[in-house]
């Protein structure tokens, strides 16, 4: 994994890059899937091109803040847009969040992309801690986070926009120490 001069994160199969307007036609059909949206706090459902525009507009607003780092998850082999991943600065540390379109589940892409982001968080952003939350009924995401070395830190209720209700959410964290041990292994 390396962070190139142009702000890309590259790993074996993936290229994480800035989402662009031309991605909207690819984003919408993947994001407009209840099975995706129900696992996320703030993804609207149904998801339209206007939501895609709003997503990009928010990125533009935050571009220079250095508080939010959002990447498109694309497959190097064919440049296909598969999902999005980001780090968001909070009081507790950087929150990691991600989603992949259903055709791209179960192939290790989330783990590969998330690993790039935690390396970015600890190396480039000098984070002390990365944390994430996964809804209790989405154990796949829990597995991804466990594979990164995240450990359970608590349980909370968080609002899910697509479901329109609060959902039980597992909170997990990855400390710099654990990360360094993981990476050395």
């Amino acid at each position: 994994m390396c962070l190139t001069e142009s702000g890309f994160l590259e790993s074996e199969r993936l290229l994480l890059r800035r989402p662009e307007r031309r991605d909207i036609p690819a984003i919408v059909p993947l994001a407009n899937d209840y099975d995706v949206a129900k696992n996320l706090s703030t993804m609207p459902h149904p998801y339209t091109a206007q939501d895609g525009e709003a997503f990009l507009a928010r990125l533009d607003e935050k571009r220079d803040n250095r508080t939010d780092f959002v990447f498109a998850i694309t497959r190097k082999a064919d440049c296909v847009y598969m999902g999005s991943i980001g780090l968001h600065q909070r009081d507790e540390g950087y929150e990691l969040g991600y989603w992949l379109g259903k055709p791209y589940w179960s192939q290790g892409y989330a783990t590969e992309a998330a690993w790039s982001l935690v390396v970015f968080a600890f190396d480039a952003l000098n984070a002390d801690l990365v944390w994430a939350g996964w809804f209790h009924d989405n154990p796949r995401s829990g597995n991804v986070l466990a594979k990164l070395g995240c450990v359970p830190k608590g349980f909370d209720k968080r609002h899910c926009l697509a479901r329109g209700m609060d959902i039980g959410c597992n909170l997990v964290t990855l400390s710099r120490e654990t990360f360094c041990v993981r990476r050395a292994a």
Binding site: S6, F8, L15, R17, R22, D23, P25, A26, P29, T74, K76, A77, D78, C79, V80, Y81
Partner: protein
């Protein structure tokens, strides 16, 4: 170049370094490379970097405009469509597509905005193109686009390491305008 033509299914944009793996995967296919003059086989990342540097430089010079053709619905890089300046008002038109994307009308769809760009923005008087005699699929695309045969030539295919019989075709500005009006 901020010119990003969009068609019903496609988005055209300048190729970038991040396209390398997809670009190489497509061009490092003899079935694709054998239809082209200047693509060696095997095709590698090093060659891509050289090609990209040339594409970027020629775009700045205004002598060659190569568009990465991507599929809007998933962002897949499916091919390349280009025009480059020849003698007088002639511009040479060319393209290639990954084998898995053949037979779906993508070449036709991407060609139109690139041809329009050559005639309307670059002031081309005539587009020229060529297709190898054993690649009739490309001949059919050019025919449907309105190109007419002007002759034949023997040209070298780097991938084959041999000369190949090539059908030369052309389309004038007037023919393009008439075709558009029709």
């Amino acid at each position: 170049m901020s010119f990003h033509p969009t068609t019903q299914r496609l988005i055209l944009r300048p190729p970038t370094l991040t396209d390398m793996p997809a670009f190489v995967a497509i061009l490092n296919d003899f079935a694709v490379a054998k239809n082209l003059q200047k693509v060696p086989h095997p095709y590698t990342g090093t060659l891509f970097r050289e090609d990209l540097a040339r594409i970027d430089a020629e775009r700045c010079n205004g002598t060659d405009f190569a568009f990465a053709v991507t599929r809007a619905m998933d962002g897949a890089l499916i091919g390349l469509c280009a025009v480059n300046r020849g003698r007088g008002g002639d511009w040479e038109f060319g393209y290639w597509y990954g084998r898995t994307y053949w037979g779906q009308g993508y070449a036709m769809e991407a060609a139109r905005p690139v041809m329009r760009f050559a005639f309307d923005d670059m002031g081309a008087e005539r587009l020229t193109a060529g297709w190898f005699d054993d690649n009739p699929a490309s001949g059919a695309v050019l025919h449907k686009l309105g190109f007419a045969i002007t002759g034949m030539a023997r040209v070298r295919s780097m991938a084959r390491g041999a000369e190949v019989l090539s059908n030369r075709v052309q389309l004038t500005r007037e023919q393009f305008a008439r075709k558009k009006a029709a």
